[in-house]
């Protein structure tokens, strides 16, 4: 089903949704655009890809896993543990196909036969994604190299495509279809073809994709070549910009906070590029240098993960890690360098 909505009506639609549900949308502030909870008076900003990905919707930066209430010994009560499962629904509006697809990388890890992460699953199941197709690739975009494209529908409930005067909205799922029943949507008519043409043109503008097909094997081969990794990581400053921006990076930390008789177990985004990520209590660190850590990050995304999950690369090609890296580390270049590096030297 394809419908049309004007720009103004989309804003209205979003505001309407925000009255009932949590709506996460790109909003401009302080010279940048980030996903924020849409509140009355806020304007959607579709002028650029939001610098942070929408993964907060399914994998929030802070998640209270559980709280514990301690009781004084004399009370005879034992400590009480309470699990904090997320409630409610969330609608993400205006994420790009790459950002929406990020959660697909989570799925096979957070929901397996044996282990089901209820926090993620509940959020994912309670989230609706209204995705905006890209009309033109940025210099950092490479979604087409990791099995996606500028109008990829996978993971979305609705796909918006910008056309003259507004957007064509295509329902991808039943949930999406229901939303399109809102009276602010009009008949798409010829706009649907305009949208299809725009999507096709966008795909064409992306040009040729990178061939990452030998990455899994080559990265493993490079594993013990620390010279290679040192050179590749020269300019890396070990910060977390790449991982926190990344729609697919799903690693987390669990820490406890306490205040008096209450303590809380908190899950927060963690960053495999940081020294403390694998630092052991004894002081030993299996990934003691940034070279080790970059190797694991690359290996994880382009080798280990695909190895475990049917060849799927754990990267959605959004390019945030390239664009926002303070030192300009280019993930595409590192993978290509690993592929092109002579096996025998």
């Amino acid at each position: 089903m394809e419908r049309f909505i004007t720009q103004d009506n989309l804003q209205r639609f979003a505001a309407g949704l925000a009255e009932k549900k949590n709506v996460l949308a790109p909003v401009a502030s302080g010279g940048t655009t980030t996903f924020r909870r849409l509140r009355p008076g806020m304007q959607l900003d579709f002028s650029r890809m939001a610098v942070i990905s929408p993964k907060d919707a399914t994998f929030p930066r802070n998640e209270t896993l559980l709280t514990v209430q301690h009781y004084p010994e004399e009370s005879g009560k034992r400590m009480e543990l309470q699990e904090h499962l997320p409630e409610g629904e969330m609608v993400v509006i205006g994420c790009r196909p790459c950002g929406t697809r990020g959660k697909l990388v989570f799925d096979p890890v957070y929901e397996t036969q044996a282990i089901k992460d209820p926090y993620y699953i509940r959020r994912r199941d309670g989230a609706t994604f209204i995705t905006l197709a890209c009309a033109r690739p940025e210099t950092t975009c490479f979604c087409h190299s990791v099995g996606s494209g500028p109008a990829d529908e996978e993971g979305s409930d609705i796909l918006l495509t910008a056309v003259e005067g507004g957007f064509v909205a295509k329902a991808v799922t039943e949930k999406g279809e229901q939303l399109l029943g809102d009276s602010l949507f009009e008949d798409a008519g010829a706009k649907a073809e305009e949208a299809a043409a725009s999507n096709a043109s966008a795909r064409k503008l992306m040009g040729e994709a990178h061939d990452f097909s030998s990455a899994a094997e080559k990265l493993l081969k490079r594993f013990d070549d620390m010279d290679f990794w040192q050179t590749q990581s020269d300019k890396c400053i070990s910060c977390g910009a790449c991982t926190y921006m990344c729609p697919t990076c799903y690693c987390f930390n669990i820490t406890d906070d306490e205040a008096g008789l209450v303590s809380r177990r908190l899950r927060t985004w963690d960053n495999c590029m940081s020294h403390t990520f694998t630092l052991e209590g004894s002081g030993h660190n299996p990934r003691s240098t940034k070279a080790h850590r970059l190797k694991n990050r690359m290996g994880h995304k382009f080798s280990y993960y695909p190895d475990l999950h049917g060849g799927q690369i754990a990267c959605c090609g959004c390019g945030r890690c390239i664009k926002q890296c303070p030192a300009g580390v280019d993930i595409r270049q590192v993978v290509m360098a690993a592929q092109e590096y002579p096996d025998e030297r």
Partner: protein
């Protein structure tokens, strides 16, 4: 542009002459698109060929020095970068005989944020960039735009008092006439706000922070390396919770530890992926340090950071009456 080209050649020649005796030389090359540069670690003649010193080459190479401790490296430094090097030397964090400094007399570097604001389309769609003498000709999403360099220079460059390296083994370019530092209008405007407005600004701005620590890791003076108290397991300084108050606490830690040591290279603010104007805090602290101790970090060798020393009578600290 011939001036710059010949300067680049002059620089390349200087580096070439020393490349063999150095582990590497840190400069810049073009990055993922024509609008962005990226640090270049020169180890070979081929690497050297990629060297650029255009105003797009912004990164402070001093940030990388502590990672090369015990090795001899070269750095291509602008004025502000040299201040970081001096401060590192003063704090005994690097040795003078372990760095060879290729100094550039600098006419300023760009602010990508200003370029973004000035361009007719998202800079992500950049297609070509041509450097004129005082302008940038940028093709973006099929459109041509000409930006005056002066208008997209980083704030730190507009008000830079030390464009020429204060320490260098090789000096490229012509020295500038002495200049007076000034604080950007934006800074003054912010300082003039009331407490409530300032607090609200930080509360909101800090809600954007994702705690990626790019500001910390890109800072040449953040020398705790992997042992920052903000990410230590002993978590009483800070919760790992990503909320405005904890995010701001980290900025307080950063500023506090930089007191009298910040060389105002502006890297923290440049690196911030969510555009938090961190220099508001740094510049303000630096101003206080200047006023009270008459001290500016990294402008002279053999100076002790003011918080690591004291005077029995502090001329500019007034005891408050009670």
């Amino acid at each position: 542009m011939s001036g710059e080209v010949s300067q680049l050649e002059e620089l390349k020649a200087a580096i070439r002459g020393q490349l063999d005796s150095l582990d590497c030389v840190i400069g810049w090359e073009q990055g993922y698109d024509p609008l962005h540069a990226t640090p270049l670690f020169i180890r070979s003649e081929a690497d050297l060929e990629r060297l650029t010193i255009s105003p797009l080459a912004v990164h402070n190479p001093a940030t990388y020095t502590t990672g090369f401790k015990g090795k001899k490296i070269g750095l291509v430094v602008r004025g502000c970068h040299s201040r970081s090097v001096i401060e590192l030397l003063n704090e005994k964090l690097i040795e003078r005989d372990e760095v060879v400094l290729f100094g550039l007399c600098c006419d300023g570097v760009v602010s990508q944020r200003k370029i973004r604001a000035a361009l007719p389309a998202d800079p992500g769609f950049v297609e070509a960039v041509e450097l004129g003498k005082d302008e940038l000709h940028i093709t973006v999403a099929g459109e041509q735009a000409t930006l005056k360099l002066q208008e997209v220079l980083a704030d730190k460059c507009l008000h830079c008092a030390y464009p020429d390296p204060l320490v260098a083994d090789v000096l490229i370019g012509e020295k500038h006439a002495p200049r007076q530092a000034a604080s950007p209008a934006c800074q003054d405007a912010f300082e003039a706000l009331g407490n409530e407005e300032k607090l609200a600004f930080w509360q909101d701005t800090m809600s954007r922070c994702i705690r990626c620590y790019a500001c910390r890791n890109v800072c040449p003076m953040c020398v705790c390396q992997d042992h920052c108290i903000a990410t230590s397991r002993d978590h009483l300084w800070m919760s790992q919770e990503n909320t405005p108050v904890e995010n701001f606490m980290f900025q307080m830690i950063h500023v506090s530890h930089l007191t009298g040591r910040c060389t105002e290279c502006g890297e923290c603010e440049r690196a911030c992926p969510v555009d938090i104007p961190l220099m508001l805090l740094r510049r303000y602290m630096n101003k206080q340090v200047r006023e009270v101790f008459g001290h500016q970090a990294g402008i002279a060798l053999d100076k002790t950071p003011p918080l690591l020393t004291f005077q029995v009578e502090e001329a500019r600290i007034k005891e408050r009456d009670w």
